[in-house]
Symmetry: D2
Amino acid sequence: MLRLLAGHPGASVVFATAEAGAGEVVEGHRLITADDAPFSRVEVVLSALPHGVSGGYVQRARAAGRRAVDLSADFRLSPEAVYGLTEVARPRVAAAELVANPGCYPTAALLALIPLARRGLIDASREVVIDAASGVTGAGRTPRRELLFGEVAEDFRAYAVGNEHRHFPELTAALARESGFSGDLVFTPHLLPVKRGILETIHVPLTRVLDRGAAEEIYQAAYDGEPCVSVTHGTLPSLRDVVYRNRVAIGVACVANVRRPRLTVIAAIDNLVKGAAGQAIQNMNVMFGLAETAGLAC
Amino acid sequence: MLRLLAGHPGASVVFATAEAGAGEVVEGHRLITADDAPFSRVEVVLSALPHGVSGGYVQRARAAGRRAVDLSADFRLSPEAVYGLTEVARPRVAAAELVANPGCYPTAALLALIPLARRGLIDASREVVIDAASGVTGAGRTPRRELLFGEVAEDFRAYAVGNEHRHFPELTAALARESGFSGDLVFTPHLLPVKRGILETIHVPLTRVLDRGAAEEIYQAAYDGEPCVSVTHGTLPSLRDVVYRNRVAIGVACVANVRRPRLTVIAAIDNLVKGAAGQAIQNMNVMFGLAETAGLAC
Amino acid sequence: MLRLLAGHPGASVVFATAEAGAGEVVEGHRLITADDAPFSRVEVVLSALPHGVSGGYVQRARAAGRRAVDLSADFRLSPEAVYGLTEVARPRVAAAELVANPGCYPTAALLALIPLARRGLIDASREVVIDAASGVTGAGRTPRRELLFGEVAEDFRAYAVGNEHRHFPELTAALARESGFSGDLVFTPHLLPVKRGILETIHVPLTRVLDRGAAEEIYQAAYDGEPCVSVTHGTLPSLRDVVYRNRVAIGVACVANVRRPRLTVIAAIDNLVKGAAGQAIQNMNVMFGLAETAGLAC
Amino acid sequence: MLRLLAGHPGASVVFATAEAGAGEVVEGHRLITADDAPFSRVEVVLSALPHGVSGGYVQRARAAGRRAVDLSADFRLSPEAVYGLTEVARPRVAAAELVANPGCYPTAALLALIPLARRGLIDASREVVIDAASGVTGAGRTPRRELLFGEVAEDFRAYAVGNEHRHFPELTAALARESGFSGDLVFTPHLLPVKRGILETIHVPLTRVLDRGAAEEIYQAAYDGEPCVSVTHGTLPSLRDVVYRNRVAIGVACVANVRRPRLTVIAAIDNLVKGAAGQAIQNMNVMFGLAETAGLAC
């Protein structure tokens, strides 16, 4: 976030916090502890504190009359905050005092599913299956054995299998709210031996046959003019199309040799950019009437 | 294959072939061209020639009265050959003149699905979704841009999406033949930035509720005493559990927060061992009455 | 280069060429063949054609009265061109009609060695030993077996050992020209399993004892105010400090337990940026009086 | 070590210890704490306890009359123990009560340098420069931020620069003891983004000109019949030649374009096998009159 803000033409960083790292200098800012944060001196607080910790500080910022974008999960299911999936909630974000920045996995899945769900194209009598794979930066930098290079390199594993991931309720709630879809989802994250990026392979049962061109047109229409959404035509995105960019890339393929209509949608994002700090800045830009992609490469 | 055979106590290599590499020495054998192969001097031919090429040479070996294990796809759908998924077809393999060694992806998927399908536990009215990820050695060593380190490292992509992979008909045919299952499958392979290993995340709609313990018991019973199948209990396998071994590892998880019963099965193999050369040697051992795991680490 | 130029505030791309890829669109430019290049319509030509091919096209551009930066090796040893190590040759670059952009390995080595050599601190009676390691993008994108992911991942190898690399004569000639140093060098490149970045471990025999602070001060003085050189203090750079940046990072350590004074200098660059396209743009900026880092992140 | 011993035809494991992991089962052995180790029930103790801890337990084993191979650094500089570089010290190892297993970096460097040093071919008036690069398993499995996948992948760094590494005094002492060489060494380790393997690029100033063939013959003669040393001819080894094997691979190249004779020697080992557990078992085999490579793939 600090690196992106360093190149932002319309924002300047007043303070940045850390706990163990307080006193260090990052991108030119000497880190202070969150308890010392001078909320009154800023226009907006972007909080990337841990889940469970962030909420209290965000409440302090709001008590001081400041707007906030919270990157933790603390407000994502709360009616107090606007759920900041920018492309879907732009007017609400613009007016928001508090934006809950979406989780990385839901960001990709929601932008892939909402256009189909809003048109009633998803067959709610069959499950939507989402297999997602993420680079390890999604797990943070706290040292844990299972994140060591010697454990992750040359490995690949599923985790939180069976709808056990924290992002599952966030995803289902947001999908229902934005599209009315109430069918079942099966969400399975995997840990990839890469530094950054998320690829989601989303298996969608359809209510009617849809060829690839028609499916691509639905996405094209839904995201016409969107600077941070890229719909591929005739190809499918991979991580290299999105890393270091504030972009979701979406591509589709029809499924042959099955009795009922199905679509496979591939969605890719950089978990650290569109999946976290980039979307937070995108939301901040919308909140303050700045160019939406100011400071962001899309 | 040559490396595994070098440590095999009951087999000795009479000749090994290559085309571009003829004349080179590999594991102590000077490679000859396949056209020069002295089939009459061996008891069994293990052919890892390319699809479309292998069949002809295997026919020559059989015309010379030799038994054969063909690692190509040329006989996998043919009634001439026994489909060599060892654990499922052991008596037929033992008696076979020609064994078609299964593809890497089907090996893992079939060993995961057959025990459930044989018991009628898979709900054929909903699709079985298989997301599979493979290391790059599965794509061979012919230089192609998309397999360069600079393209594959830090990337992850789906390919042959929509049931377009060569292994799809092999998988559906073998599953139907061995279990009678005739529901729909959705099979999506992905390319992983690792050297070797396949992990398959298999989403199974169930005809009745099955808790994890009961599911594990089904696999335990199905593979009781099998030296090359490992059923995990309470954990899920990853690539590190299987690479360099002739083993499939299978683990299960129940799916919460869905209306109808579902199981997620994770199956892992080394694509070069249990998915190719190792299973070929396992089949050869069965064909000749040797210890089934002779020359193999399981 | 096209990606960097896309964000350049003072340059616009008139044409871009490719041979096999002609007709494709890259960063918004439809590629034409080099033979169709309309040199008369541009102010400067940046040529990244292969060694041996580039020279001819650059001569055509010059015959059309255009200035040029050649990224190939074709003019690096030629008196026709200014050797474009920007920090060392800035005034000559500013006035140049033709700039030979330095090789990636020499860029890092020269910026590390010249400040010491100019002060007579390198003991020419003992060899300077340079072990350099590069990511695979330095080898280009032409498919070759030894560059496949399956060959490079988990491997590390030396190549062109014994001063056989094309960059050796470039390095020795430029070092002599810029500093008068005429001692022996031993240069050994290695292939790293990473996508980008070069790290050079440079072993310097000294004419007199120099502690770390004094050595750091020499570099600090030599590169005072330089936007693309970063001298570390008390730490040593690694690839992560420089990738995606037009920067060389230099750090030093004294050598204990030896009889005669020695310094170990670590220099790191991104081979694709400061080692190629970035330095070319930096040179172009200098040639046309633009801000030196326009379009570049340093 | 336990995995290697599981396949050893002439050894059986009586107990295995861990501290945090006590109670876990590894390769069929339930781990006990070192304090509970029944030294009296074994013929030999192989200790891979941490430096500073191992020594005390090894002394207890010896007090109980047991022979020992210590993989820690605790006895490597001590006259109590035989320094177990097997190829160099075989008769002493055979008779030893206590063997200090060499460090990983010294193992490769010593096997590369001793044959030249014993013949007086190394010019002691110029420094021998050793740049070594190791996979991360050399750093153990204790979680530390700098060993996380997100930090190590795509990075490369030098550490303990300036002869600060623990292996430097071990290396110089052993080289002097075995060959009488007393010139200066400069040893610089680097951290590679691979799981296992060490490659050392060793720059040797020569007392006289030696062409490649002559240098190869020196190594060939020095290691004639050695099962765990592989001398390459006309090529240079890389990590893929040695990983998962108890082998050092050594290759040489002459250095052109320098005034005085020099040789570059490349030595590669698997840090976990010939650099640790494998060499310990090799030493155990020698101590007990077993086939030297029993249980080992070379």
